[in-house]
């Protein structure tokens, strides 16, 4: 489901992307870690998603943590409106955990798919890692060596979430509300 650069050259390299052997996984995940708390101010949850007006926004990481502490660094001390942003780790899917945003890593596609199914229609922003076939409300992708994201605004609508047009405009591709 990755939309890639249109350039025909790149199009051809869709099949055989020519990437230099300079894997910098730490940078890739640092960028993804930096994104997660920055998404939050652009998203409006229904009031029902929070226990009280002072309840923090919780970012949950399910399964293996690819961020190695960078997510805490990125989220530390940040706020969205009056709410603090906190990070929580879940060893396994826990529907009772009050997560407003769940990051699903590529390590276990079955767990990711199961969580996506369980969260469907709930006010939770699912964020899927690049490399996963299944896509959440937000899905990371690597486009020509850049970390970008797609947004499924239709899925967000089902969960009562409102994503600001500003964030939609930054997305690589958007699945609009009202689309099947």
């Amino acid at each position: 489901m990755r939309l890639r650069l249109l350039a025909a050259a790149a199009a051809l390299s869709c099949v055989a992307p020519l990437v230099p052997a300079r894997a910098d996984a730490s940078l890739e995940y640092a960028v993804k870690a930096a994104y997660l708390p920055k998404f939050i101010p652009f998203i409006t949850w229904p009031d029902s998603a929070f226990a009280s007006p002072a309840t923090p926004v919780t970012i949950c990481v399910l399964g293996d943590d690819p961020f190695g502490g960078k997510l805490e660094q990125a989220a530390g001390g940040t706020k969205s409106g009056e709410r603090a942003i906190v990070v929580r780790r879940l060893a396994e899917p826990d529907p009772s955990a009050s997560c407003q945003l769940i990051f699903l890593g590529a390590g276990d596609p079955a767990v990711a798919q199961g969580t996506l199914d369980a969260m469907k229609g709930r006010p939770v922003v699912t964020v899927t890692d690049s490399g996963l076939k299944a896509h959440g409300v937000i899905s990371f992708l690597i486009d020509a060596n850049h970390v970008r994201f797609d947004i499924d605004d239709a899925a967000a609508a089902q969960g009562g979430l409102v994503i600001s047009s500003k964030l939609l405009s930054l997305a690589h591709a958007v699945k609009q509300r009202g689309q099947p």
Binding site: L12, A16, P20, L27, L167
Partner: protein, 641 residues
């Protein structure tokens, strides 16, 4: 090149060649810096996709070097050929302010034998800029703002299966940035003792789905001195403008882009040579629900040149290509497609008392059709096979199959071995088939309608990997077996006219190595080295008239070392050292040269850079018969608004 005005001789030798400097890698942002970036800026951080997509690494079972946007900016390069000096797997030799000879794995041609560096295919956003008239690239007619380069993929080795004819020894893909990556205005003004330029670009968006940019630029580059030490009177300038629009909707991406340019190049003792052109390219990608995608590329390109004594050409190219990617079961990742290209050209004869260049016919409409398919098959978790075939119907030589098989083996997490066997051809052109060159009234040289494609079968082996967190390495070795190479044969008894023939053959083998080392967060070193041995010979019965030197005058080896330092938050310094081995025949001594650039970001909106090119000598020669390349300095100011 036939339309470069000068240099029509017979004789043999010629050409010198060179090589480039350094490999160098992307990205200077460190993992800790990115938290400070805005959400918009995050999208611009360059990472590599290797770790998360093992198939993309293994799929690059080829000697591929990527020049990043950062590399381009930090090199200070102001033209595409100068950017290409960053690729350790290319030979780049400059012969005048506007002329370059660029090749991969040898065969940089011989201007005295009128054989050109014709085995490297070059595309800008999918648009081929390889001229079908004589085979080769008019580098002076191609330009992209350094600001707008996303990356340049340089693949040494055949690329015929994906890219078609003429990708014999390599492919260069120049990919420009999306309009969304170049939002806002930027004004650039630069001046130096050899080159001055000005450019203005503005990018905006109509709504969240439609981004655009447009730009204009102009430059003036003063004359070099000829080898004799007197001015070559070959100053040139070329205004250019262009635009790009990207439209994104849920399942579709549509891009429309175009450029228009016109320029004048000085000539020794004769009127200016003029060049002009325009192009318009449309891309459409449609994502289908089943995870497959369809892509359509169409472009129109017009190029014209007028040289002294009235010779010149106008060439119109129309191209359309369709591609479909899909998965077949869990085992096959297939891409297939078809394309058609029409060349409509008219060449004006050059007629002069001493030498004339005539074309019979001078006008043709050529049609080139192709179909291709490629399948990626994972044989195991670590082993992947890619097989493909392109079949092209060439207007002169008919059906040419260009198959390839590539195998990649992920030996360990960061270490990949690959092997490939592929075939590619260099297609005949009007210059091979239709040309008549006269000396006075004598027909001296004539094209041959039976001229065959030059062909290669290439055997390649490579390693690419990450030795440690700070060290990367790529090694590729090749053995290229050529047949039907172009040379020249006399007519029996009468001797003249000489005719193009396919009576040369042989092997070329070599090794290309590059790597990077990042001792600290703020310093990175890139090194490149290549060595090759050419073993060409003539078919039985060939006259050997011009010797094997007519194939090319390539350096046996070249090396480069590049240093990129972030000295301070807002100050960076890059130095780029290159060594090019001696040219064998005709001889030209080896040389070393150094480029350096100091960049200072004075504020969010204002930055300055001071570049020095070819600093080690006041002048040096890169090409036999070419100008002396002069030391130069260049100061650029860049204002964002």
């Amino acid at each position: 090149m036939p339309f470069r005005g000068i240099r029509w001789g017979l004789g043999l030798l010629l050409a010198a060649n060179l090589l480039p400097p350094g490999a160098r890698a992307q990205q200077v942002a460190s993992a800790d810096d990115v938290q400070e970036l805005s959400i918009e800026q995050l999208a611009n951080v360059e990472i590599t996709s290797v770790s998360k997509a093992p198939q993309s690494l293994s799929a690059a079972a080829a000697a591929a070097y990527v020049i990043s946007h950062d590399d381009v900016i930090r090199s200070g390069a102001t033209s595409i050929p100068e950017m290409l000096r960053l690729a350790p797997n290319l030979e780049v030799m400059q012969s005048s302010p506007s002329a370059y000879q660029i090749a991969a794995r040898g065969f940089n041609g011989s201007s005295s034998a009128q054989n050109f560096p014709n085995k490297l295919l070059v595309l800008i956003d999918g648009r081929s800029v390889y001229t079908p008239l004589f085979s080769g690239v008019y580098w002076d007619m191609q330009d992209v703002l350094p600001e707008d380069v996303e990356r340049i993929e340089v693949v040494s080795g055949p690329g015929g299966t994906l890219w078609g004819a003429n990708a014999v020894n390599g492919v260069v893909n120049i990919i420009t940035r999306k309009a969304s990556d170049t939002q806002g205005g930027v004004a650039m003004l630069g001046a130096g003792d050899s080159y001055s330029s000005a450019a203005l670009q503005y990018g905006g968006s109509f709504d969240s789905n439609l981004d655009y940019r447009f730009y204009v630029k102009d430059f003036y580059q003063r004359s070099f001195n000829s080898a004799a030490g007197t001015t070559a009177h070959d100053a040139w300038s070329k205004p250019q403008g262009g635009f790009r629009v990207d439209w994104t909707v849920a399942q579709d991406l549509v891009t429309l882009q175009g450029d228009v340019y016109g320029g004048a190049e000085g000539q020794l003792n004769t009127p200016n040579q003029t060049i002009a052109g325009a192009n318009l390219t449309g891309h459409w990608q449609h994502r289908l629900d089943d995870d497959s995608s369809l892509q359509l590329l169409a472009y129109y390109d017009q190029a014209q040149r007028n040289v002294l004594n009235g010779g010149g050409f106008i060439l119109n190219t129309y191209d359309v290509e369709l591609q479909h990617n899909f998965a077949l079961g869990s085992w096959n990742n297939i891409v297939w497609g078809a394309g058609d290209r029409i060349y409509d050209y008219a060449i004006t004869d050059r007629v002069a008392p001493d030498t004339s260049l005539l074309w019979r016919p001078g006008h043709r409409v050529l049609n080139l059709a192709d179909v291709f398919a490629q399948d990626q098959i994972p044989l195991s978790d670590s082993l992947q096979l890619t097989v493909g075939l392109k079949v092209e119907n060439d207007p002169y030589s008919g059906i040419s199959p260009m198959p390839s098989g590539r195998l990649s083996w992920q030996v360990a997490k960061d270490h990949m071995l690959w092997a490939a066997i592929s075939r590619a051809v260099r297609a005949p052109t009007p210059f091979d088939t239709d040309v008549v060159e006269k000396l006075g009234t004598v027909s001296f040289l004539a094209g041959d309608i039976n001229f065959l494609p030059e062909q290669v079968t290439a055997y390649e082996l490579g390693y690419r990997g990450r030795i440690s967190d700070s060290v990367t390495l790529s090694i590729s070795a090749f053995e290229n077996v050529y047949d039907d190479l172009k040379d020249i044969e006399p007519t029996p008894v009468t001797f003249t006219p000489l005719r193009w023939a396919n009576t040369m053959q042989g092997n070329v083998h070599g090794v290309e190595i590059w790597g990077s080392y990042k001792p600290t967060d703020w310093w990175r070193l890139d090194a490149g080295f290549n060595i090759q041995h050419m073993d060409l010979s003539f078919a039985p019965g060939a006259s050997k008239l011009l010797g094997i030197a007519q194939a090319g005058d390539d350096p046996h080896h070249q090396a480069s070392l590049r240093s990129s330092m972030n000295i301070w938050d807002d100050i960076n310094f890059d130095a780029d050292f290159r060594y090019v081995g001696a040219l064998p025949d005709p001889k030209l001594p080896e040389y070393v040269e150094l480029n350096a650039r100091l960049g200072w970001r004075a504020s969010d909106t204002l930055s300055f850079s001071l570049s020095g090119f070819n600093l080690l000598h006041s002048q040096h020669l890169e090409y036999v018969g070419g100008d002396q390349i002069r030391r130069s300095v260049y100061l650029e100011t860049r204002l964002r608004f």
